[in-house]
């Protein structure tokens, strides 16, 4: 005997996603057109009031989006917004002598390296609601789990992608730094290759 299945309410929104206006760099007016990919709205208009419990979008091991709702439990926020610490900031180091610093516990010819973190330009990055890839989200892969999955955060190694499903490939942007000019790559391209499986590698999959 099985309970009659109650029809699940299908979520339909009557509101259409409309382009919206904003001014960037204090003078430049820009029209932003939101796009929806796999249920995720990119370049959406930010809410009028920003609250810490605003839902955000994480990715599972396949790279499928899943919504996280921050909650406050026992005075602590659970599933809070992702914290990127200083991964996306540029660091400026300046060398100061003891005389310039004027600290009481420094000699005049001591050297102090001052690091100043400059935030990145959030103009366009803030329009991406999905969690960004940072090195602390790398995984270890390989037989002995000793190879880092850099530059990828999702998908994980050896996951199974199904056809006609959308998956997000995320990578750490600062991983691609040109050794010659120390500049971060502006553009990248993704490639997919067929791999011939060795016979002893086949068959490890379940069923």
């Amino acid at each position: 005997y099985r309970n009659a299945v109650k029809p699940r309410p299908t979520t339909t929104t009557s509101e259409e996603i409309k382009p919206w206006l904003r001014t960037i760099y204090s003078t430049q007016v820009e029209v932003v057109t939101p796009t929806v990919i796999a249920g995720v709205t990119f370049s959406a208009k930010p809410p009028m009031t920003s609250d810490a419990l605003h839902p955000w979008i994480s990715l599972d091991k396949l790279g499928s989006p899943k919504t996280k709702n921050p909650e406050i439990k026992k005075g602590r926020t659970v599933n809070g917004q992702p914290d990127y610490s200083t991964y996306f900031q540029t660091v400026h180091t300046t060398m100061l002598s003891g005389a310039e610093v004027g600290a009481h516990n420094m000699d005049s010819n001591d050297i102090y390296n001052q690091e100043i973190f400059e935030d990145e330009d959030k103009t366009y990055v803030s329009l991406n609601p999905i969690i960004r890839c940072t090195p602390d989200r790398y995984r270890n892969k390989g037989l002995a789990k000793d190879v880092s999955s850099e530059p990828f955060c999702t998908p994980f190694e050896n996951v199974e992608w199904k056809i006609d499903h959308t998956y997000f490939v995320t990578w750490f942007t600062k991983f691609f730094e040109d050794p010659a000019t120390d500049k971060i790559a502006e553009k990248v391209r993704l490639h997919a290759f067929y791999v011939k499986e060795k016979s002893h590698e086949k068959g490890f999959g379940k069923r």
Binding site: P155, E157, I163, Y167, T173, F175, F176, I184, R189, L190
Partner: protein, 163 residues
């Protein structure tokens, strides 16, 4: 090398650090599963220098889930609360058949209650029980049974001098 790539995207902004991919059936080349390697080429590496194995990611692309589950249509039907009821009928027919049969037997027996003689059957059962020698009272299994048509036969196991 890049010549071996069966799928390449256009040049996208690296600052996003994100790209949405959707494997299609063509990738599988009429197989159920394919093993692919995913790699990212930054703009400062030329096509000739690019080595996909340096920081590639091994994946499986499969046709669908390996365990047969309800198809989308069936799930949609279930979601709409429209589950097919054939099994109700099967579940209901069986007890109804039994009930109908019992009622028919009851009326048949009721109609034939004066034309019924099962004495031979009863006699056979009683004979079966009489095969036990000795007083039934001592056998608690037969304690309730009235064994009246037979009295116990005298047992003269020892001979007296008079005989």
């Amino acid at each position: 090398s890049l010549k071996g790539a069966f799928f390449s995207t256009e040049w996208v902004k690296n600052v996003d650090g994100l790209y949405a991919m959707e494997p299609t059936e063509e990738w599988l080349q009429d197989k159920y599963e394919k093993r692919i390697l995913l790699a990212i080429q930054p703009d400062y590496i030329t096509d000739e220098e690019f080595d996909p194995w340096a920081h590639g990611l091994l994946l499986h692309v499969i046709m669908g889930s390996r365990v047969f589950k309800n198809t989308k249509e069936q799930l949609a039907l279930q979601d709409a609360g429209l589950s097919d009821d054939t099994w109700y009928y099967v579940a209901l027919t069986m007890p109804t058949m039994v009930v109908v049969a019992c009622v028919a037997m009851y009326f048949f027996l009721h109609l034939n209650k004066n034309h019924r003689d099962i004495r031979d059957v009863r006699q056979f059962a009683v004979n079966q029980k009489h095969r036990v020698l000795g007083s039934f009272k001592s056998y608690n299994k037969y304690k309730k049974l009235k064994n009246r048509p037979y009295s116990e036969l005298p047992t003269h196991s020892k001979k007296t001098s008079k005989q």
